[in-house]
């Protein structure tokens, strides 16, 4: 059995666009993996991430990380965010407009580790931009800086709140690859909040699907996101005729009219690879 790093059992009343609901989460997250919280907007994903970081307090429950208790409502324990060894990448990056790229990394460290800063600047391709302020960085550079800053104090847990959602497709794909490499290099247990299926499939080892404040499914990305496997009516046999870069051409059977899918341009579909007998 893998070693459990984060043991969460919390409840929290949250207000969403659909009204009041209760976030009720019981999770055991193993060490070192790349995990994703997947679900619709307002499902409670970001709130859960903020609760782990200590930026939002749960109403009740317990959070244990390793051997230390970060939150325990019964024993009135609530470790401050600054005492939790986490790195947090915010959806809007939350870069400090008054600081240069290098200053961001220096600020993040309690004791200065110049080698680590140089290493981060090089890995994230920011070395040539170290004296620039965020207003002079592109979207992708800002995102890199946000991740580099979160890693500067060598956190045990990296929390990513839809970090790529504001970027264009090309930059997003490039940064997904970087995130995979960085995860392998820094070994921080990573929890990503996302509703981008491609992103999750590219990055995650394991996915928790959250809906109306509850974890309704968990497992490997393909299993949890493979809608077709849970909805037989949408399962249609098809054959790949050609592969050209990221474009797939498929043919599918129209024999059974009830199963005829009604594809629309721009629609996202799930493809499960399975050999036709």
């Amino acid at each position: 059995m893998e070693e459990v790093l984060i043991d969460i059992d919390i409840t929290k009343a949250i207000h969403t666009t659909e009204g009041k609901q209760t976030l009720e989460v019981k999770l055991q997250i193993p060490r070192y993996g790349f995990f994703t919280l997947f679900g619709k907007s307002g499902a409670g994903k970001t709130t859960l991430l903020r609760i782990i970081a200590g930026l939002t307090n749960p109403d009740a429950g317990k959070i244990v990380v390793g051997k230390s208790v970060w939150f325990d409502s019964l024993n009135k324990i609530n470790i401050k965010p600054r005492e939790r060894n986490i790195g947090f990448v915010f959806q809007d990056y939350a870069l400090f407009p008054n600081m240069t790229v290098k200053k961001h990394l220096e600020y993040a460290q309690d004791t200065q580790d110049k080698n680590h800063i140089e290493e981060l600047l090089n890995i994230f391709d920011l070395a040539g931009l170290s004296s620039r302020k965020p207003e002079n960085l592109s979207g992708g550079q800002k995102q890199r800086l946000a991740v580099a800053r979160a890693l500067a104090k060598k956190p045990e847990i990296l929390l990513l709140d839809e970090p790529l959602s504001a970027l264009d497709e090309e930059t997003r794909l490039a940064l997904q690859k970087e995130l995979v490499l960085i995860h392998k290099q820094f070994n921080a247990t990573t929890l990503l909040v996302s509703h981008d299926i491609n992103e999750i499939l590219n990055l995650s080892d394991y996915v928790y699907k959250i809906d109306h404040g509850k974890i309704i499914k968990s497992g490997e990305a393909g299993t949890v996101l493979g809608k077709a496997s849970e909805d037989a009516a949408q399962k249609i046999p098809a054959k790949i005729t050609s592969v050209n870069g990221r474009e797939l051409s498929i043919i599918y059977s129209e024999e059974n009219k009830a199963e005829k899918p009604e594809f629309q341009p721009g629609e996202e579909i799930y493809i499960i690879k399975k050999p036709l007998i």
């Binding site: 970081a53 965010p81 600054r82 947090f88 400090f96 008054n98 993040a108 309690d110 965020p134 207003e135």
Partner: protein, 226 residues
């Protein structure tokens, strides 16, 4: 320019400088509390801070004069225990100015803090920084235009103060007589040349302060687009 003219302006500038410096120190924690606290009764504090904006200066001056008078408990307490007399003294008009100008400093800083994205504060906390470090290194440096606006408004408003100072200070030359009172005094004495000298200086000074504030805010709006 005679000695009395210079002395009157010196009192005005001394009063405005001290008021601004003290309110800068006092205003930051109050503005921080009003921006971020979830305390239910904070609206009462907000209303109290902003009262001088709607209250006639003579009303505030009248109550402060009563409070400072040795015939009432507060004035008596200050005189008996600290040997301090506030009515008709420079210290008195300074205390009056601090109360009267509180909203100009606090509201400016509070607006600056409230306009910052909440994630900046959260990001700093997640990087292991304390509230004080976050305030000093992240929040305040990013609301510089709001702070400068607060400083300029407080300074300029103190220079132009009339009612409160007249009520508490009593217009004593060399002690509590400031430039704005001197204009009124000169007109009463039909000395229009002297009134003009004071008035022109006050006019030019206020105009320059406003130009400064608007040029800062222009820069601030450009910066906020990022």
């Amino acid at each position: 320019m005679n000695a009395e003219f210079l002395q009157t302006f010196w009192i005005s500038i001394k009063l405005a400088s001290l008021t601004t410096a003290i309110l800068f120190i006092v205003g930051i924690p109050i503005a921080y509390f009003l921006s971020y606290s979830k305390f239910r009764l904070k609206v009462v504090l907000q209303a109290l801070v902003s009262m001088p904006l709607v209250l006639p200066p003579s009303v505030l001056g009248f109550y402060l004069l009563l409070a400072f008078s040795p015939n009432y408990w507060f004035g008596k307490f200050l005189l008996n225990y600290f040997d301090v007399q506030l009515a008709f003294t420079f210290l008195g008009i300074l205390v009056g100015s601090l109360i009267f100008n509180l909203p100009f400093m606090v509201n400016s800083i509070q607006t600056g803090l409230s306009n910052l994205p909440a994630s900046l504060k959260d990001a700093s906390y997640s990087l292991g920084k304390s509230r004080i470090t976050t305030l000093m290194k992240v929040l305040l440096p990013n609301i510089k235009p709001a702070i400068l606006t607060g400083i300029c408004l407080t300074f300029a408003h103190t220079i132009g103060e009339f009612g409160v100072i007249l009520m508490i200070g009593g217009n004593i030359p060399g002690k509590t007589r400031v430039a704005s009172l001197a204009v009124y005094d000169s007109v009463q004495a039909l000395n229009f040349t002297e009134a003009h000298n004071y008035a022109l200086f006050l006019f030019a000074f206020s105009f320059l302060i406003l130009i400064f504030i608007y040029s800062i805010n222009k820069e601030y709006l450009r910066w906020k687009k990022f």
